[in-house]
Subunit: 185 residues, 2 copies
Amino acid sequence: MAETVRADARRNHDLLLTAAREAFAARGTDASLRDIARQAGVGIGTLYRHFPTREALLEALLASRFDALRQRAEQLSAAAAPGDALLEWLGELAAGSVTYRGLPESVMAALRDEQSRLHASCAGMRAAGGLLLRRAQEAGEVRADVTAAQLLALAAGLAWAGEQSADPADMVRHLLSIAAGGLRS
Amino acid sequence: MAETVRADARRNHDLLLTAAREAFAARGTDASLRDIARQAGVGIGTLYRHFPTREALLEALLASRFDALRQRAEQLSAAAAPGDALLEWLGELAAGSVTYRGLPESVMAALRDEQSRLHASCAGMRAAGGLLLRRAQEAGEVRADVTAAQLLALAAGLAWAGEQSADPADMVRHLLSIAAGGLRS
DNA sequence: GAAAATACGGAGCGGTGCTCCGAATTGTCA
DNA sequence: TGACAATTCGGAGCACCGCTCCGTATTTTC
């Protein structure tokens, strides 16, 4: 019957989430957790009880987005032009990676570490991307020797390069355009 | 007459460099500077006097390598097949980026910050790569809408993606192969 | 060998991630 | 309504980080 959560706990949970969202957006995924707790008007211990790791915090903020991306991939995998569908999806993936600086690194770390709270949603997204990739390969529109892991790494690498640039969105667009040509068979 | 350097100063300088080389190789470019000083058998203050910033330390370790890469680009720019020459050079660049984890990030940061001690050699390398790129574009072998900044960002992004992977060298090779196709016009 | 120039080393400051436990708050039941 | 139990809170404290500052030690010069 431990379904009921104490009122203050629920309140602090939400305060922490909005504070974290703002901090990650302003200072990247390596923002100070102390600052986040302070901004939420909460002790540092409270933050760690609600979210034992930084990944747990990210997971709470991003899981729904990754799920949406997974669904989007499944939806696009039925498209008539699987090659274009794949590129469309890659574009959306890269666009989402720009919201928090450091996000590509967090995603790659989560994929590497099965213990990470982010792992499940990231892996699900990769699998969906892999499905999309295979469709495009079977249609002969994309090089056959590319794996799902490579596809994700490529997208993350381009998104990372965007972060390092003065105009991230513009840089990602150009690099994605280059990569698109390289994926075509 | 301040040409003469005190004997202990020169000795500590060298001790710090070898300690830094080992630390960066083992733990990446964000290795603890205190550890490096300790490993060199030297106080933390001594480290900071010899190398005021982490970039200064990196610069001392990498300048010659970047210079060599610049010369290599100039040499390759006279090749008969400028497209292949560019890809060859990109391969060497990416291969060198694997020596220290975090190196691509340091290079991109140095290119962004003109105050950085690493800036000069990085910018020189970028310029040389730009020359190589232009030759390949004039020969009609590479897309005309790619800039030197994009080329460097691309290489850094792929190298970064390699770092995140279980088998960096293998991942970089595959991603570079994809990018190569995308650069062709 | 004494004096001047130079370099050394680490205590100390403010920051980080993270833990641990006494104190305060909340929900429950008489 | 009030007392008790369960739950949650909050921040002191630890070890680490980058970096500065200055009394002390070493080296060179004369």
